[in-house]
Homo-oligomer: 361 residues x 2
């Protein structure tokens, strides 16, 4: 067994101690004589674990008591639809801030359920920068304002929480949740697919102000109502128990690392190392994003000659650097530097990049 | 580590060889240097695995080529809603055969999306038998006929596939899929939550005739359309990769056991052993279900004196027999005898039951 450095955009690297613990207790969890996957979610052991996972997350993120925490399924994509189903009434409109592939998709998947107002967009600028704050056309009567704090494909990230007045702010944080401290009280709803900074795929975390749960008045099955999930502690039906368990191990690991302030410092150090290598390469590597909004989590970059792409990918994989191929929408490379990617991984990557430049420059 | 015999109704026991293999390769899957949970679902390795999993399932179940196989999320409960969203047009009605808790819930969760016609129900008989076939009020114009082949809580199971004419038959097989051979060509859509006979929770298997996928004409987000999932090989968004992988290990294990005919014989043997113990106990244990429709998978039973329930549960757990507590709707006990529960487990259970009778009879 030789583990590699994994830069996958998601499903992404998990902390090695988390995997090792999951491996140890895979056949016998908490002395029950069965795997955590083989436990009834209605059993005492699982319910106690689930409560502890939520408590750990509340402590890590400082989640206010007036927010419910839900462990859901369907990926963020399903919740692009379920959020307007729950937060908008018939005829309501919502403001969408479009800063890349995912926030654009949130708007299009939400459109069957709410009148979508694209209040700001950087699409015509190829998402290379954020739309200037003074150009946002926010509607004070909107049901909510939606944005993605970090764009996994385009590599742009909000560096602050925009002021949207009294309208609830809804944020897709799939690719930067838990990467640093954030003021949860500024949001009406935060959601995140687990497969980047939380755990395995198939789990979605939702943090939502309880007063907003009363808005879901249109006819729909109970299973789509966040209020029902909140009232049933995310066990309205059988949850993804393995995902919930691994999320819990990840939260414990984050606490052991010093919490989100420590992760923030480390993530900034990792990103700075990679961006400085790109910017200092004399044009051999390029990242076109406005430096003031570059993502700490996802770093897309191109080689000065795309004919070298195949060699870069082949040689990097041989050097134990996995999943550096860029998204097809942008081409080139992408390195995702989530919490579970250690500084050593980024050091290995930049060493390889220097070496590659020397051999092919 | 000492494994127990696990009679959980779900999430349920998994085959020990499946767990052992998952444990072995948890940190390094297929020599990739990363866990299967850390692989991009768009990567070559995962796509090849996913295709093999589908091929193995098609072979095991004899799935016709005109059916799509989908690996979805949300539990069967979400698909109680999504099925009418996809298979019924505005104003359509559908026939529901109600034979227990779950088929009743399928009807109520479907009601926001289709006019529900309860064509037959055994509710007034406490679900102790199946509604007589000649009393079913099927509508030839129905969009589909829905039933649950096995009722996990009430312990009744269809012993054949009802003839519903040309109307597509939709079956929730969550708790008896893969327990024996079935003629898939008789169904329009089969669905099953994974957490009983397939794998861990958080995965739903759907087998659907491709021609039915064209029915979804009402406005809805792409993520709810089965046709989109089929066109994208269940990777419209990030799937539950761990669940998919474990389902594949389970399918391989089933093939090694001799396939579904072998499982059928074994499951009949297990169920016969437990039912004969109950019926031969002189009334100490009781199962009230019409013997002609008793479930091979879920065996609810009561003790002649419910004051003994607590002792039965405590002593059985001490004897290494897990999760025998009955569902709160029925009380008493329930033993679930899914594929992963070996004959030795049922032998241990009936030995305990005899012993308990001797001590408390």
């Amino acid at each position: 067994m030789s583990r590699v450095w994994n830069f996958s955009a998601g499903p992404a690297a998990l902390p090695l101690p988390v995997l090792e613990r999951a491996q140890r207790e895979l056949l016998d969890w908490e002395g029950s004589g069965a795997s955590v996957m083989e436990q009834s979610h209605r059993g005492k052991r699982f319910i106690a674990m689930a409560a502890q996972v939520e408590a750990d997350l509340r402590e890590l993120m400082g989640i206010p008591a007036d927010c419910a925490v839900l462990f859901e399924q369907g990926g963020a994509t399903q919740h692009f639809a379920q959020i307007p189903m729950n937060l908008a009434g018939e005829g309501d409109s919502a403001d969408y801030i479009v800063t890349g592939h995912w926030s654009e998709k949130a708007a299009s998947e939400g459109a069957p359920y709410v009148r979508v107002n694209v209040a700001a967009s950087s699409k015509t600028e190829n998402y290379l920068r954020m739309p200037a704050r003074d150009t946002w056309k926010l509607d004070p009567a909107a049901a909510y304002v939606h944005l993605a704090t970090n764009e996994t494909i385009h590599g742009v990230e909000f560096q602050d929480i925009p002021d949207v007045g009294d309208v609830p702010l809804v944020a897709d944080m799939s690719s930067d949740i838990l990467s640093g401290p954030i003021d949860v009280s500024r949001f009406g709803l935060i959601y995140a697919g687990a497969q980047k900074n939380i755990g395995p795929s198939g789990l979605v975390l939702i943090i939502v102000r309880r007063d907003l749960l009363q808005r879901a008045v249109r006819p729909m099955a109970r299973i789509f109502r966040y209020a029902e999930h909140a009232a049933n502690d995310s066990m309205l039906n059988t949850p993804n128990t393995w995902g919930w368990y691994l999320a819990g191990l990840t939260f414990q690991w984050l606490k052991e690392q010093g919490g989100l302030a420590a992760m923030d410092a480390l993530n900034r150090q990792k990103a700075a190392l990679l961006y400085s290598t790109i910017d200092g390469s004399g044009g051999f590597y390029r990242n076109p994003i406005d430096p003031s909004v570059r993502s700490r989590m996802n770093v897309p970059f191109t080689l000065h000659d795309s004919a070298l792409d195949a060699a870069f990918l082949k040689e990097s994989e041989a050097a134990g650097l996995l999943a550096l191929k860029g998204h097809k929408a942008l081409g080139g490379m992408r390195a995702s530097l989530y919490n579970a990617v250690p500084l050593e991984a980024v050091q290995a990557l930049v060493a390889f990049m220097h070496d590659f430049t020397n051999r092919h420059g």
